[in-house]
């Protein structure tokens, strides 16, 4: 992770402590950030680099979302606090994002996952021009404007083809565990294309491939290729190509990253904690709000 994201403890306590909680369809993620600048500085007046330089990520948490979203959010937040060695009540402000953002009763503000993704990605890689977020059901391409603003975005809306749950299913049919699918695909020598776009119906095609003797890496690589094709379509619609930040749970899978690289032929950055970028972005936006309010300045 880049320079300013030192997760080591700071000797001084942060001047402001803000949490971002991203309630996704499969996982809920929390990130705690601290402000180590002077109180009273309106964030809007700082250049983005100066703002970033005074922010530190202090802790993270992840839990399965399940049915009770608020509970998941609380647990993720507690994990993050524990990691940071800080008490929950020390938190000044909580920004909620993700599909379940409105279910979090204890939020101070809600921000969409797209805005959050953009801010988080910009914070980590200020030179990138676009973000690709592939989560369990959603695929989002975001074109970045100045200071991490969303310039344009496209999401898949009606159909889950090409999203993370597609991979989860494929892994299940192929009897490979999810942690290793990404690396396994790298062993492919002759990727075998998948024609069905449906995450569900692809099953029989995958099974056909297996029975036709196609190797698991080749099948997986074929799936990643089709995923990359769909993502590339979305990406092209959000603006000119340039450095891309790839985030969301699927970015953890090397096979997906390589397939996107092959398809797009542009540099791709994957943050170490790729599924926490949304929560991070929410926290950062929350922090800006805090810095702008009288409560903090006083």
């Amino acid at each position: 992770m880049p320079h300013h994201v030192a997760e080591t403890e700071r000797s001084q306590a942060p001047a402001a402590l803000v949490a971002g909680v991203d309630v996704g369809s499969s996982h809920t993620k929390a990130v705690l950030v601290g402000w180590f600048g002077e109180p009273g500085v309106a964030a809007g007046l700082l250049a983005p680099e100066d703002f970033s330089a005074r922010v530190c990520i202090l802790g993270r948490g992840t839990v399965r979302t399940g049915v009770e979203m608020e509970k998941a959010a609380r647990t993720a937040l507690e994990q993050a606090c524990e990691a940071a060695g800080l008490a929950r009540r020390a938190i000044d402000y909580i920004a909620a994002t993700g599909l379940g953002r409105y279910s979090i009763g204890f939020r101070d503000i809600q921000i969409t996952e797209i805005t959050s993704d953009a801010r988080g990605a910009f914070f980590l890689f200020p030179h990138s021009v676009a973000v690709m977020d592939i989560g369990s059901q959603s695929t989002r391409a975001i074109g970045l404007g100045d200071a991490g603003r969303v310039r344009q975005f496209k999401t898949n809306d009606k159909c889950a083809a090409g999203s993370g749950s597609f991979i989860v299913r494929a892994a299940r049919y192929l009897q490979v565990d999810l942690e290793s699918v990404g690396d396994l695909a790298l062993e492919a020598n002759h990727p075998h294309p998948i024609s069905s776009i449906c995450a569900v119906l692809a099953e029989s095609e995958i099974i056909n491939h297996v029975s036709a003797g196609v190797s698991v890496p080749n099948i997986l690589a074929g799936i990643y290729d089709s995923l990359a094709d769909r993502s590339a379509l979305l990406l092209k619609r959000v603006g000119p190509a340039g450095e891309l930040v790839f985030i969301g749970g699927v970015a953890r899978q090397q096979g997906a990253v390589r397939a996107l690289e092959r398809r797009l032929k542009i540099p791709i950055r994957v943050p170490e904690y790729c599924e926490h970028v949304g929560a991070l972005g929410a926290a950062l936006l929350g922090l800006k709000r805090v810095l702008a309010t009288a409560r903090f300045a006083a």
Partner: protein, 393 residues
């Protein structure tokens, strides 16, 4: 969703509630009532976008604007006739016909706004027999020297058919009177739009939408009264101006977005300065002359003084230029495209609109909707993101 902190005067609230009931009544209760009160009189439905309602009115009939059935009617038959890749309104209109919801109507007017709607006219005719079905060709070449004459002929043809159906002649004076009362209607609607554009924090778009749409089912005279009432009471709402983005909505000229979606757009932080909802009701940009030959007046106004729309072609005045002009004139910050799923005319226009807006550095967002949708999580996320991208620093 956080609802706005505000109070509405009781009179306005009752008015909107009444409109809502009228709009939600799929069995066309208002039309049935009107027919009971006017024994023997006919009601004629028309498919969006534009229909020469003045002629229907002058024939002593009730023109009824159809805007689909929203999520209140489950498609059981029409899907089989129209299948995939066709917009909802085509199917809901047919479904309403097949399931008896349109029984109070004696006839239907269609025009060639798009290929789906045009084919619908004839499929409707076959499947819902015993109704008078008329298809009008509204000229798409207003620049020709022959178009006014042609359109007059087309209106004459309709008038003849209506006369046969109603068993009475359409007198020129009656037609002039009808034009006048619809001029009044359009004037009131323009005032309503003006009121909102000037006070978007007070006048909610969803309210004026209902007030407007109720006019589909009411005699125009009654609708005019409601509009006057609304103009008097709507602006009295107490509401604080909020941090909002001032937008223009484009693309929903035919199939209508669900009311909840319109609310959602406002709640997400948009002040709507103009929209193209229910465009047919506000078709003419000024009054239709009430002197001279009324058919000529109607035809000439259609050709030369209509609003721009994705389904009316006038190569002399290009829509994408007009949209940019309108956005600038109203001082809007952005354009929100609300496009019905599978609405090909709107999809096509988006390409040129987009190009022109980008050249003018006006941000925009494209959303697709279906009238039958009733959950909007994804759309909400998109509108909120859009607002955030314009408001957050």
């Amino acid at each position: 969703m956080s609802s706005l902190n505000e109070t509405m005067p009781a009179a306005a609230e009752a008015l909107i509630e009444r409109c809502r009931e009228i709009v939600d009544d799929l069995s066309l209760g208002e039309v049935r009532r009107w027919k009971q009160e006017h024994p023997g009189a006919r009601a004629i439905g028309y498919f969006p976008v534009y229909a020469p309602v003045e002629l229907v009115h002058a024939a002593g009939m009730l023109p009824v604007g159809l805007n689909g059935a929203g999520d209140r009617l489950d498609l059981q038959y029409a899907d089989a006739r129209f299948g995939s890749f066709i917009c909802s309104i085509v199917k809901t209109t047919l479904e309403m016909g097949l399931t008896g919801h349109l029984d109070p109507l004696d006839g239907m007017l269609f025009s060639g706004i798009c290929d789906s709607a045009r084919n619908l006219a004839f499929v409707f005719e076959r499947n819902v027999p015993a109704k008078y079905v008329e298809f009008l060709h509204l000229p798409q070449n207003p620049a020709s020297a022959a178009s006014t004459e042609f359109l007059k002929g087309e209106y004459r043809r309709l008038a003849d058919a209506l006369e046969r159906l109603g068993g009475r002649k359409i007198e020129e004076d009656a037609l002039r009177a009808s034009i006048a009362v619809y001029n009044e209607n359009r004037r009131l609607l323009r005032d309503l739009y003006g009121l909102r554009a000037a006070n978007p924090h007070q006048v909610r778009t969803s309210d004026i939408y209902l007030l407007q749409r109720a006019g589909n089912f009411l005699p125009v005279e009654t609708h005019n009264e409601l509009l006057r009432e609304g103009l008097g009471s709507l602006a009295d709402r107490e509401a604080k101006p909020r941090d909002s983005v001032r937008i223009v909505i484009e693309g929903a000229f035919c199939e209508q977005p669900p009311l909840d979606l319109i609310r959602l757009v406002e709640d997400a932080g948009c002040y709507v300065l103009d929209d193209d909802f229910l465009l047919g009701l506000r078709w003419f940009t000024g009054d239709v002359p009430t002197g001279g030959d009324p058919l000529e007046a109607l035809a000439s106004c259609y050709l030369n003084h209509s609003v721009y729309s994705s389904v009316r072609h006038d190569f002399r005045n290009r829509r994408h230029k007009l949209l940019v002009e309108k956005t600038r004139r109203l001082g809007a910050q952005a354009v929100l495209f609300l496009i019905a799923k599978f609405c090909e005319p709107a999809y096509f226009d988006y390409v040129l609109f987009k190009r022109e807006l980008e050249a003018a550095a006006i941000p925009h967002l494209l959303l697709e909707f279906e009238e039958k949708a009733f959950t909007f999580d994804r759309l909400r996320t998109e509108v909120e993101t859009f607002v955030e991208s314009l408001l957050f620093d």
